[in-house]
Subunit: 302 residues, 2 copies
Amino acid sequence: MNIVFSRDSQVRGMDNTVANTEKYFGQFCSLLAAYTRKTARLRNKADQLVKQLIDFANSENPELRATMRGFAEDLAKVQDYRQAQVERLETKVVNPLKLYGAQIKQTRAEIKKFKRVQNREIKQLEKLEKLRQKSPWDRQMISQAETRVQRAAMDSSRTTLQLEETVDAFQRQKLKDLQTFFSNFVTIEMVFHAKALEVYSSAFQTLEKYDLERDLQDFRAKMQGVYGHYNTQPLANTNPSPSVLQSLASQGTLQVQLYRANEDPEHPHANHGRFSLHDVEGQSAHCVCGQGGYLMLPGHSL
Amino acid sequence: MNIVFSRDSQVRGMDNTVANTEKYFGQFCSLLAAYTRKTARLRNKADQLVKQLIDFANSENPELRATMRGFAEDLAKVQDYRQAQVERLETKVVNPLKLYGAQIKQTRAEIKKFKRVQNREIKQLEKLEKLRQKSPWDRQMISQAETRVQRAAMDSSRTTLQLEETVDAFQRQKLKDLQTFFSNFVTIEMVFHAKALEVYSSAFQTLEKYDLERDLQDFRAKMQGVYGHYNTQPLANTNPSPSVLQSLASQGTLQVQLYRANEDPEHPHANHGRFSLHDVEGQSAHCVCGQGGYLMLPGHSL
């Protein structure tokens, strides 16, 4: 009888083992999946930063442009390694953990099967017990019942052995996989951190090498260049068109080269001048018009 | 006159420089803030994993418990370094970038101020121009207007110099800060990756050292221990109470030690037996009852 009870307690132990595994492996799976997703989001943000760094670089002087591009490229490299990290975490950690559910279900089924067999044995024992109590004199009936009990007991002990093997194999697999999953996790993380460290080291040097003074000289030259080549004339001699002055005051978007044409105080509107119009970006905008007595011709640097 | 135009274009150049800085530094600020937030979220997920690993460890055998705890501690260490990374990114990269807005506003104000002065100069020029056209003979008026123009021009050139200095300082500061911010970013990342690599290396060894076979032996011992010490008796001799069998079949949660009391086939209900009840967790549950003719007494290992 006690064998029955002991088997029952054994099944309880096995049930607990499997239930515990199901609970924690499920949590590990969802947490590591979330960890991987968050890593992917971090990669996305860094990719956006890379894009902005390149846009910015293209809007700057050569020295800073080169530095920012170099830095952006390194930052992009780190994100490539992060992408590899994400893919590896999915294939080597998260997916295997997902597949674990099936293995657990199988073991659970084995345990259920054993329980059925065990219950049969218990029922036979109950019948035998009743018989003994109701008609203890009926030796034949009792011996038949005992035979059924023994048969059920044999089934039960056979399935017990099977179950023991199943759960032992399950536990071995579980421990082995646990070690594998987390070793994979650590290896994947290590590879990423090592690569990131390597790339950032070069990024750091790129930023260190940046020559601020040289860049500042470029900037000053550019600022000077914007207005550096005009042959100034005494203000008293100038007589720009009010319309031009107006457009300047209002838009303030034009570089204008003005040359006095023949001046006739009697016919102020007979003035003729040449304009070369450039917007600051340096693209030329040319037009020819007679209105206001000004002839606009294709501009060129003077 | 062309000086006026050139100054105008100079201001345009300065405006663009400041606007460009405002645009990109703003983007860098928000992207790096987002990057920092995502890093913090990654830390949170890993912290949850640490918690689950410790819970799991406490539910396992000594060998696996020690390994999982060691691994969880290392994973927690990495998150501490990640926390430091988050704080450093905020204080050394994101916050300084936030403060940049003020600096930009100040420079913008300087440029506006210059524009006002420049417009005054242009207005004086316009007046002079009109005068020349309407009453070119009125030399006195013209000379007065020319004086006003020259005064306005002097103001304008003075503020131009101020503006040049302001924008030059702004550009220098911008380039310097840009280098500082991203150098800080790279340094902070490098420190984190180096530390993470160090900690994960030890975590990897912890997992490698794990002795699966020893753990499996513990597991088997535990499984055996659950039912390992019962002196089996021939089934024919057993007569458990149907109620006990029932409770077993239904709950299946008890280890029961059954000893036959004096058996009297004539009075089957006069049977007396002793039960010691243990749930599988090994906690004892004792009770005394006469019902069903069974006396339950405090149980002890036999």
